[in-house]
Amino acid sequence: MSTDVIVTQNLSKTYGRPPLQVHALRETNLSIKQGDYIAIIGPSGSGKSTLMNLLGCLDKPSTGKIFIDGKDVSTLNEKELARIRREKIGFIFQKYNLIPTLNALENVELSMGFAGVDAQTRTKKAKQLLELVELSKRLTHKPSEMSGGEQQRVAIARALANSPSIILADEPTGNVDSKSGDNIMCILEAVNARGETIIVVTHNMAIAQRAKRVLRIQDGVVQEGHV
C-alpha cells in the first residue's frame, strides 16, 4: 500500500504587492504517492519552477501548506528546512550545479558531509553511487573536465547520496544531447523502480510520456494532464 509522500493544501505563491502582484501558483492541492513518477509540463513562466522550489523547501509558500512525509514544512525555520532538504529531498538542476572546486567524488560526498556522515562511510557510498551512474572512471575529475552528460550524472549521484525519498529534477536533460538525455532518464527510471518518488519538470514531450502521471501548469494553475 502506497502512502502520500507529498501533500499540498491550497498552496499559493505570490510575488510583489498589489496591484503589481504576480500569482505564480494558485490554490494548489496535490497528493503525490510514494514511488510515483511525475512529469510537470507547461509553458515558460507558468509556475513550474515555483512549484519545484516550494516542494524542494527552497522557498516558502505565501499561503497554504506543504506536508512532506506527513510533516508540515511551511512553518519550519531555516535550520529545520535545511534538514528536510538534506534528508528527504534530492535536487537535480538543469545546469548541473556541481561545485567547481570539488571533483566528482567530493561533490557527491558534500551533502553527506552536511548530514554528518563519517568520512569512510561517505567515500564508500559516493563510490557506489558513481558506479551506479557509470562514472567509476571519473572519480577525481573536476566538473570542468567532464561532459554535460557526465556532470548531470554526478549531480544525480549527489542527489541520491542521503537516500532521499523524493527526487526533484528541474529539466535534467535541458542542457545535454539527446543520447545523454536518454541515458539520464534511464537512470532516473531505475531509481524510481527502487521506490523513490521522482518529479521531473520538462519541456520534452517524449520524456513526459515516460512518466506515470503528468501535471500540466498554466498561469499558476495545476491540473492533471495528458501529453
Binding site: 535545511a82 532538504r85 561545485i99 554528518g116
Partner: protein, 404 residues
Amino acid sequence: MFRDHVKLAIKNLRHRLSRSLLTLLGIAIGIMAIISLMALGEGMQQAVTGQLSSLSDVIIVSTGGNFLSSFGGGGGSTGQYFTQRDIAYVQRLQGVKDVSTQLAGAAMAEYNGKSTIVSLTGMDINVMRLQYATQNLEAGTFLNEGDQNKIMIGYGVAHSTFDSDVVVGDRIKLNGEKFFVSGIFGKQGMGGVSSDTVVLMSSRDFQKLTGQSNISLIYLRVYNVNDAESIATSIQNQINANHGKKDFATATTMTSILKTVQTVIGILQLVLVAIASIALVVASIGIMNTMLTSVMERTREIGIMKAIGATNTDIMSIFIIEGMLVSGIGGIIGILLGVFGSQGLTLILNSFMAMGVSSNLTPIITIMSVVLAVLVSLIVGVLSSLYPAWKAARMSPIEAVRYE
C-alpha cells in the same frame, strides 16, 4: 563536520591562490611590524635598564628642578649654587660612600681669532666618566685622572661656536689660558638637554682658572642601595632648610630615574605598536574586501550548498574558517618576518642614529609578543570574515542558484 569545513575552505583558498596570497601578505606585514617594533621596544627597555641599574647606588643632588633636565647635559645652570655647609652635611651623612661635586661657571673662549663666552663645567674625572658614559664621542678620548689643562667639548662648541671647526688636538684659549681639546662629544640625540654646548674640565683646572667654586651639582654614592631613597630625602630636606627654601635642591636616585625612563620607553613602545596596528587594520579590511568579492563570486555555489542541505551555520563556518586560515597563516609568516625584520631594523637604527643608548641595542622577541600576534591575527580573521560570512549565510537558495 568541522574538518569538512576546513577542507572546503582550503580548497576555496587554493582555487584563488594569488588573491589569497596577497591578502595573506597584508596580514603578514602587519604582524611583522608589530613583532619587530615590540622586539625593538623591549630591547631598548632592557638596554637602558642594564646601563642605569649599574648606577643604582648613585644619588645626584641638583639645584632647582628635576635632575633629569641636566642629566648628561653638564649643568643647566640655575644661578644658584650649593654652599660648603651643604657639602659638609652630605659628607657627614651616614651611609654615604663618597661625594664629589660639579662646578659651573663661564669663561671667555678664543679660538682661531674669534672670542665668545662659553659655559664651563668642572668635575671629578671619575664622576665625569660615569655621568657621560652613555654619551658617544665623535672624536678623541675621555679625560684621564691627573690630566691638566685638558678639556672635552660638546658638538656645538666644536662645530658652530667658532668660525672654523675645532678638532681633537687643537688648543682653545679660556680666559687667556690654553687648553688642549682631548675629546669631542657626538651630536646629541633627541632625549635630554643638550650636551652640545658643554666645556668639561677637571675640578682642579676649573678652580685654578676661575678662582671660583660654584657647586651646581653634588654627586654621591651610598653603601647600601636600599638606603638610597631615604638618604636622598634627608639630603633634600636639610639643604632646603639650609637655604630656607622649599625647592632649592632636588635629590634624585638612579632608581627613580630608571622608573621614569622605563615609563617613557613603555609609552614609546605603545605608540610604536599602535602605529603598527594601523597596518593590521588595513590588512583586515583587505581580508573583508577579498571575502566579500569571494561571496559574490560564489553566490551560486552557496545556493547549491544550501539546496543540498547546508545550514546557515555551515555556510558561515566555512567562510569564517577561510578568513581565519588567511590571517592565521599570514600571522605565522608575519612572526617569522618580524624576527628577521627586527634584526634588520636594529642594524639600520644603529648605523643611522647615534642615539647613545641604542648603539648597543639588540631586539628581544618575547613569548608574550608571539602569543599576542597569533591571537590578534586570529581575532582579525574572525572579525573581518564575520560580515562576509553573514552575508553569504543569509542568501536565499533559489536566488543564489539562479544567479549567473
